[in-house]
Amino acid sequence: MIDFNNVTKVLGNNTVLDGMDLHIEEGETFVLVGPSGTGKSVTLKHIVSLMTPDSGSVKVMGEDISQCSKKRKEEVLSNFGYLFQGGALLAWMSVADNVALPLIEKTNMKRKDIYEKVYNALELVGLEDDGDKMPSSISGGMKKRAGLARAIIRDPQIVLYDEPTSGLDPVMARTIDHLIVDLNEKKPGMTSLVVTHDLHSALSIADRIGLLYLGKVIVDLPPDEFIKSEDPEVVKFLEAQYITKRGSWEKERK
């Protein structure tokens, strides 16, 4: 579904991606972890063509996204949902209008049907009573949940999550984890790529976890194996988050 082949990206004097290879299957939840500034968000931006690789290729649904025609790129992007770090809600629109925006702009649905769907999505993220509020009057966690509702409103095949739990309290972080798992269970073909440095979240929701370090995915393992990995970077990363209970991590997914 998503293939990075030997992708290199240099920003200024900093080689962010250095011959990165990554392969994500359809219907899979892949979590990319790594320290801040290692290029996790840059990886996501390559997938939706907000950035282009200096060398190598990024293929999405079989298409080289940086090389294909504008029309084909639009077709590919129509299959995406993207949750931005801060939610990226438009400040002058209410929460419901923000969630409705992709449907208003990109479909011919009737207004009544659009808002019915919008409030269903808001109910899914626990914001059914907050549709009329403006983004400036809701908390960071609510913005993220509204952003998630907007990301899934068009029933995308691929959802990209950029730090979905950062800055949230633990209860809200686990709520977002539940939501991601629920979404994947309700829509079996949905592919998810989650970028985070929250290993609690990663171990709970992932089918596979990749550790991005110095521009490469140096470890790519299922959660049960990831937690047992003896790779020094993985060990350092696990210990930094006080995760020492090796091998018996309770997953969200049963």
């Binding site: 907000l50 282009t52 995406f80 931005f84 990226a88 400040a91 925006l101 992709p102 990109k106």
Partner: protein, 270 residues
């Protein structure tokens, strides 16, 4: 996609290198603003779509109606100053009755569109650059790109159409208010009757002056929108960057308004 990747340039230690970088940066900026203008003109084919009409009306209210108070104050005092300065000189020759002509011609040809352009650049242009700049740093523009909603059609086109309509209208309003201000001075300070002032003002007023002034205002509206939106979209470095973009937008608008104002006057009057 309007979202651009961050750009990095190596430090230049020689003055020639630094000069060259300024030249390349300025050329690139003008080129990108030109492309933005072309994209916005192309996007105008969607201006009669229902949701675009709403956005255009909103922008007309923000850029036009909300600027009326400040424009009225500036225009009335501009007219009063013009009348006073020319009136004092004319009084030496006992020709103060002609003050109406001086005010009318100055306002229609230059001061009306010029003052309107400067006020809109300061009020509306700065607000456009700050709003779009904030949207860039908070990833809202990237979100629009990912949702395949063209930011040029969604954000720039309604602003451009609104400014193309509102700037000439506001310029006309500025002229009339300025003439009114001049009239107040003529009556109270120069002892010219209202009838004499108005008759004199409209006696020499030419249609050409009005239309050239309105054309200038139309161009100023285009300049303010494109320069401000371009600077907004070019924002980097968070909140500091938003401040810099806003400052650059206002300074560039002022400069282009002066230059274009001169060029149009030169083309039509010499």
């Amino acid at each position: 996609m309007i979202t651009r990747e961050p750009e990095f340039f190596p430090e230049s230690i020689t003055w020639i290198g630094q000069l060259g970088r300024i030249g390349v940066g300025a050329s690139r900026s003008v080129g990108r603003a030109g492309i933005l203008l072309a994209q916005t003109i192309l996007a105008m084919r969607f201006m009669f779509v229902k949701r675009s009409r709403h956005a255009i009306m909103d922008q007309m209210y923000v850029s036009g109606i909300k600027s009326i108070l400040v424009i009225s104050i500036v225009a009335i005092f501009t007219g009063m100053i013009l009348a006073l300065q020319t009136g004092i000189e004319l009084m030496r020759f006992n020709q103060q009755v002609n003050v109406g002509t001086a005010v009318m011609v100055s306002m229609l040809r230059e001061m009306g569109p010029f003052m309107t352009g400067l006020i809109l650049a300061a009020c509306v242009g700065s607000s456009m650059a700050a709003q779009l700049g904030t949207m860039v740093v908070s990833e809202e523009i990237e979100a629009l790109d990912v949702m395949e909603i063209d930011p040029v059609r969604f954000l720039v086109m309604p602003r451009l159409v609104a400014m193309m309509v509102m700037t000439p209208l506001l310029s006309f309003f500025t002229c009339m208010t300025g003439i009114l201000g001049g009239g107040i001075v003529a009556i109270t300070q120069l002892h010219v009757s209202w009838e004499a002032y108005i008759n004199n003002a409209f006696w020499l007023a030419a249609e050409k002056d009005l239309f050239v002034g309105l054309f200038k205002a139309f161009l100023f509206g285009v300049i303010i929108t494109i320069v401000s939106c371009h600077e907004g979209f070019s924002t980097t470095n968070g909140a500091v960057g938003v401040g810099l973009s806003t400052r650059k937008a206002v300074i560039e608008c002022f400069l282009y308004i002066l230059i274009v104002g001169y060029v149009v006057t030169r083309l039509f009057y010499l």
